[in-house]
Each structure stands twice: as structure tokens, then as C-alpha cells.
Symmetry: C2
Subunit: 239 residues, 2 copies
Amino acid sequence: MNISIERNNCAECEHRMTCVGAAAGNRDASQRIRIARHDTLYQAGDAVSDHIFNIRSGSFKVLRAASQQPAQIIGFALAPDFLGLDALDRERHANTVIALEDSEVCSINWNRHAFEGRRRPVMRASLHALLSREIRREQRAALMLRNTQAEQRMADLLLSLSQRRVEFGHVAEQFRLPMSRCDIASYLGVTAECVSRLLLLFRQRALFELRRRDIKLLDLSALHRMAIGSAPESAMVAS
Amino acid sequence: MNISIERNNCAECEHRMTCVGAAAGNRDASQRIRIARHDTLYQAGDAVSDHIFNIRSGSFKVLRAASQQPAQIIGFALAPDFLGLDALDRERHANTVIALEDSEVCSINWNRHAFEGRRRPVMRASLHALLSREIRREQRAALMLRNTQAEQRMADLLLSLSQRRVEFGHVAEQFRLPMSRCDIASYLGVTAECVSRLLLLFRQRALFELRRRDIKLLDLSALHRMAIGSAPESAMVAS
DNA sequence: GAAAATAATTGATCCAGATCAAAGAAATTG
DNA sequence: CAATTTCTTTGATCTGGATCAATTATTTTC
């Protein structure tokens, strides 16, 4: 384990305008946590603190174990996603969260002291919004999975990664896949062999260039046509 | 459309001890809505009011449309489930909710007037709990879908229906499936033919008796063994 | 930087579940 | 209550992706 924690100064943070944590305006509300590749942010069974995590840099995979079975990846989280929204009312975490690369998260206290003053309705609304949004995101993921075609799932994943890059101020077309082919397979609910073949197929169709984990999307609109929520507009309606 | 709305008296409601709405103690916070089989509670694109719905009797299917494709069923909601948790921060609904039988819901205003007095921290926590719980539920559904085996998905659905019956004070073993085979197929992400064959197979294995929509589960533990969260205990950990 | 361990690709075969087709059972409708 | 319409079951065939088996990169480790 190689986790380092330090005090955070939300007042000077570049994300203070949009972050729920900064809105708390509470010195104790936020901490910066550095976490190395392959290390665990929290694990199924760990006690839940009154904190949620906002990813500042890097990326994570979220695993859920089903007894009798190896754990499956139920999501990838990239900056500026939140983690821990699924455990607000629980004693113990149900999922395990592992860093895919060296990453930083802000830990935000959402308990009564930070969130329940009568003067913090905006922030409270933000927490509701965050939670509600996460529900829609999960619904969308499930919709993607009901679409049996592995091609569509793959297209959907690539677009969702791309979109989150854009949200964080990067270009949509070019980025580095933070996860292994095997992780992708687990998330899509297919085998690693299948992922490998799909990537080959997509490359042959000139949908993207791919070398190791560096990807350059060449035909975003084709990907949109393949993916489920399809049209960019409808993707916005969905979340 | 055959929807009737009437004032609700939470103070005398049999569920006042556990219902978020009743905790509001606000006369205007809750309304009782009757809705006939096949009618729509709300539809994708409808304006979102500051209300969530608590099912008092009956059942619903929740549909999400992906452009280019027929809408898929992303969930079934039975008493005492909540509906509308996915739209707190949205202008318009992303999903469509249709009654599977004549049903009743309580509409609960969750906006600042009902929920933000300083004396309602318990209720606010309940809303957080509700939302967080819904996220876990969706994660679980997605986990179920990644499990390619149709058998496991079916076992999982039957158990989740059974569990919710128990939550509402009924017996676990015997109930009526409120949805068509076709609805089940859409939810599980398989074809109706596949559902039909699975049900036959399960009957042959003496997992349940089934006549039309009336089902009697004979071997709950076998179903638990087949389903993903497997053991009853671990199902509790998951949500 | 060579050796070991791990990840990714590629090929061959197989099977769960899709698709196509048709018959039978319930529920609606006039 | 007979006629439609819709839902469900059953059968035959086909296929996308799984599984099994090697081979070829990449990382890690010492």
C-alpha cells in the first residue's frame, strides 16, 4: 500500500466552482489522497466513512464480487467522477476500487456537519444531483449490457471514455486506455479473446488507430451509430 | 388514460413509520394516485416535478428507449419500491413507467419545503439512503447481466421478485408474475422463446410450479445457488 | 539486461441462445 | 360467444461469442 494523504485547500482549487466539496467551504471537509497504480482506494467489507471521493487525476476500476465467482468489473471511474456514492447508508463497502494508474482523489465529507447547515441547500442539491445522476449512469450501463452485440458494447465504452475526457477538458479523439484488455472484457461481459478480435475488427474498419493502449478515434460518428444511446443528442438526454 | 388523484392522509397511513413521505409530516407533501393497468405514470420527455413515487400496491415496468431500437425494460418496480429517483436533477424524465396492473402510488414532494427544514435530518438521510440504495440495486442488475448465463439471470429475477414480496409482508414462495414473458425477456436481455424454454426447464427440475402467471417456488435454495449474489447472506451485503 | 511472469493476439472448434417458422392458448372485442 | 388479436410454447436451424490451445509481445523482477 502506498497511499499518501494531505490537507487540501479547496479555496484555491481550480475546481472550486463546480466541486461539491469546495461548496462545503469547510476546512475539514476535504483531503487530498494520492494513490499508486494497482493500489486499493477501498475494498468490499471496509468500513464506510462519511466521505465520498472525487477523482482529480488518474482512473480506477470498480469491482463487485459475486460469491462463487471471480469479481467482475462493474465500472471504470475517471476524473472528474465520484466514488463511494453507493454506500452512503451502509456500514461496509460492497465494492472494491483499485487505481489503474497513479491517481489523486479528493475525499469529501458529506455528513451532517458539512452538509446540513441551513445555509447549504445548493450543496445538498448537488449531492442529490450526483446520486441521481449516478443512478442514470448505471441504468445506461445496464441498457448497454442488454444489447447482446459485443460490438455495440465496445463502441459504447469507447465513447463514454471519450466523453469523460471531454468533460475534464481534454480532446475527445486521442487518449490512453488506462485499463487492460482483460479489464475491458470483464466490464463488457465478454472474453478477452473477444475484445482482442473486436479491436482488430474496428481497426480494420478504420474506426480508430490503436497501438498498445494509445487510441485515436477516427470516426466518432460511426461509433455513435453503433452504440446504443446512439445519437450524441440522445446521449445527453440520457444523462 | 385513467389516472385518479386524491389527497393522502399520511398521519393515518399504515406505512407511516417507515415511509419518507410520512416523515415529512407535511399535508401537501403526499398525494395518492391510482393508475390503471397499462397506463403510464410518466413518460420519457415528461417534465419532472419535485416528486418521487412510492408504490403502495401493484407493479410497474420501467422502460428506457435507445434511439434506433425498441425500448427495453430496465427494471420492474413492486410495492414498496420508489420511482423517479433517477430524475431529481433533471428537467425531463429519461424513462417511461407503465403500470403492469391496477396500482396505487404515493407521490412525495422532496423539494426544499418538505425536506429542508433543519428539523428533518432523518428524512434527508432517508432520501440519501434511498438514492444510494438504488445505485447499488442498479449495480447488482448490471452484474446479473454480465453473467452471460440466461439461467442465472432468470433465477436472479425470480428471487428479487420474491424478496420484494417478503419486504412487503407477503410469503416468499407463492405469487403472481405481474409481467408478460415478453417483458421478462426484455428485462433479462434474451428472447421470449428463451424465457419460455427456461421456464420449462426450471419446472422440469422442480424449482417451481407455474401455471400461467401464478408461480410457487419449490426450491428457493437451489435458485439462490444458481443466482449470482448466491448465498442469501451475500445478497444482504449487496444491498 | 536476461529470465520469468504476465498480457495480448490468433486459430480451431463448440455451444447457448438467436432467429425463423408455425401451432396452440388466452385475452379482447364487437 | 364467435372472431380477432395477442401471448406463449415448441421445433429446426444458424451464429456470435465461448472455450481450448498455442504463439507472440510486453512487463517485471532480480
